[in-house]
Symmetry: C2
Subunit: 324 residues, 2 copies
């Protein structure tokens, strides 16, 4: 009996997504999607995870080399412990690797979702052929993952590449982590939403499509709405996206000095705005970088695997770990 398949799991606050992969492939042979039901607490989620995994695993997991799980929060991949999953109530210091291995009888590997998205994009997406990759997900929050010298950069406790919490302005707005002025607090979807509502309520943006799109109910403005208006050419919305892009460029200058990647890959919903976001980022990066050598051969691109970066990365993690 050979162990021929790899299971990837993307554990999200809303849905659990699972996929079965063959070796060296990122095209799922089977996929499943179940509501996470995180409000029920960890035990409920364990059951949901097991069900979603078994749904894509033939023959009672007999042919499965292992299961990789992308975790939405800081995770110790060495010990297999979820340190914190902010969107899952009760998820603090849970030994999920051990728990799921007992349930499944197969090896389980954990990773932070952005770290695994970086791994997936590196092996099968926009980062193929590069040894040094910086992956950023710009969505509700900002996450990061780094491949350095052909290996995942994890750090002492697996907490490396939390680049969304790069401090850009000590006097800046409150971040999701409780601190102030972090990159995430200035350039995430949440930040765009907050700034858009605040400006509109202060009377700016009169005549903007953003107002039309929410039929005047300013509390319904979101970064997605702003993005939609920006894509339609709305100047108020474009300025908001451009400002987020400028903060991205400012953060990138420091991050490129830190990691010196040969490509930066952008995932997450806000990144789908493409050059509306990335062109201002490029301009600021060029302004703030200490040398052209950091950016002249380092393209900023959108993720090739889209929403599946983390799912593919979770499967890739198993391929990597069981190849050793």
């Amino acid at each position: 009996m050979t162990s021929s398949y790899f299971i990837g799991v993307d554990l999200g606050g809303t849905n659990i997504r699972t996929a079965r992969f063959a070796r060296q492939s990122h095209i799922p042979e089977a996929k499943a999607k179940h509501p996470t039901q995180g409000a029920g607490g960890p035990e409920v989620v364990y059951q949901r995870l097991e069900a979603a995994i078994r749904e894509v695993a033939p023959n009672d997991l007999a042919d499965v080399a292992g299961v990789g799980i992308a975790i939405p929060g800081p995770t110790d991949p060495y010990q297999g412990i979820v340190m914190k999953a902010p969107n899952l109530p009760g998820w603090i210091n849970l030994p999920l690797k051990q728990i799921m291995e007992q349930r499944l009888g197969r090896p389980v590997f954990l990773g932070n979702d952005a770290n695994l998205a970086a791994l997936g994009e590196w092996k099968f997406g926009a980062g193929r052929g590069h040894d040094d990759v910086l992956y950023l997900t710009i969505s509700t929050g900002i996450g990061g993952g780094v491949i350095s010298g052909g290996r995942m950069l994890l750090g002492a406790r697996g907490l490396a590449a939390e680049v969304g919490h790069t401090l850009l302005d000590p006097n800046g707005p409150l971040c999701g982590c409780g601190q102030y002025g972090h990159f995430e607090a200035l350039a995430s979807g949440t930040a765009i939403t907050r700034t858009a509502r605040s400006r509109l309520k202060a009377g700016q943006g009169a005549g903007s499509k953003v107002i039309d799109l929410v039929a005047g109910d300013l509390d319904k403005v979101t970064s997605a709405v702003v993005g939609q208006a920006a894509q339609a050419g709305d100047e108020f919305a474009r300025k908001l996206i451009a400002e987020a892009g400028e903060y991205i460029g400012q953060a990138l200058a420091s991050l490129l000095h830190s990691y010196n990647p040969s490509i930066v890959i952008f995932g997450g919903g806000v990144s789908m705005l493409g050059d509306l976001l990335l062109e201002p980022a490029r301009a600021k990066l060029r302004q703030y970088a200490m040398s052209d050598a950091y950016w002249e051969n380092c393209p900023l691109v959108v993720a090739a695997l889209g929403d599946d970066s983390g799912l593919v990365g979770a499967g890739t993690l198993v391929m990597e770990e069981t190849d050793l």
Copy 2:
């Protein structure tokens, strides 16, 4: 004939220092120190380098496994090219590895001086036993080196860990690299000197020991003088050092999020002030970090090898490269 010795070279703006090491030792068997004479241009420095290397190499380099050179500036270690050495006139894109191999007939390896200091401290100094090390040198400028997962973090072109150019304040003072508000522009010896002179000339610090130490000639105030006064208990000087320490803590928060080291090692002259500098850094780090997990098991310590970190690291580089 066995290749039993390793030569380390610390190429500085003022002096070239060389040492001969036995395998797995950081205690030099021989040392030499020659003036760099950088004003004479690259050819003169090549001659000085060769002379200083031969002085510590017995038997016409026959028993030498290789020569490692720590370069004071951005360096491509893969190609063996010095991209820029700001304190050495004419040192732009020099293929130093090739040039010195032709002169010496032995393998030559290059590295950025702060990267190699990190390597030296990791193998033989304060970082022994750690897999994830952040090394910072706080002197005229601020340099950095990172060991991640038991390997030097180099990046695509060997330009990683230039953490002195982490952007802390876009409205901040001019940095040595030509940009503004970088960590180096706010917390280096140069920054302390600049701030001290500026405050004293504005009439602050009346009665400070700093003024006595320069006999009232404020243009003679340096960070070393400020440090001396701070160690003697002078409040004006202590505040200047503490402010630099606070910027160090602010930068460390982002750097620990990026690299998640298990130890931070401080080299360079300013770091010799120890807790006068590092206690304010610790306080700010705790304030700005997104989670205690980043700092609670990550001590901030002073380098164990002192001025020899880079010299030892250059020798260590040869041990590492010729072990492969």
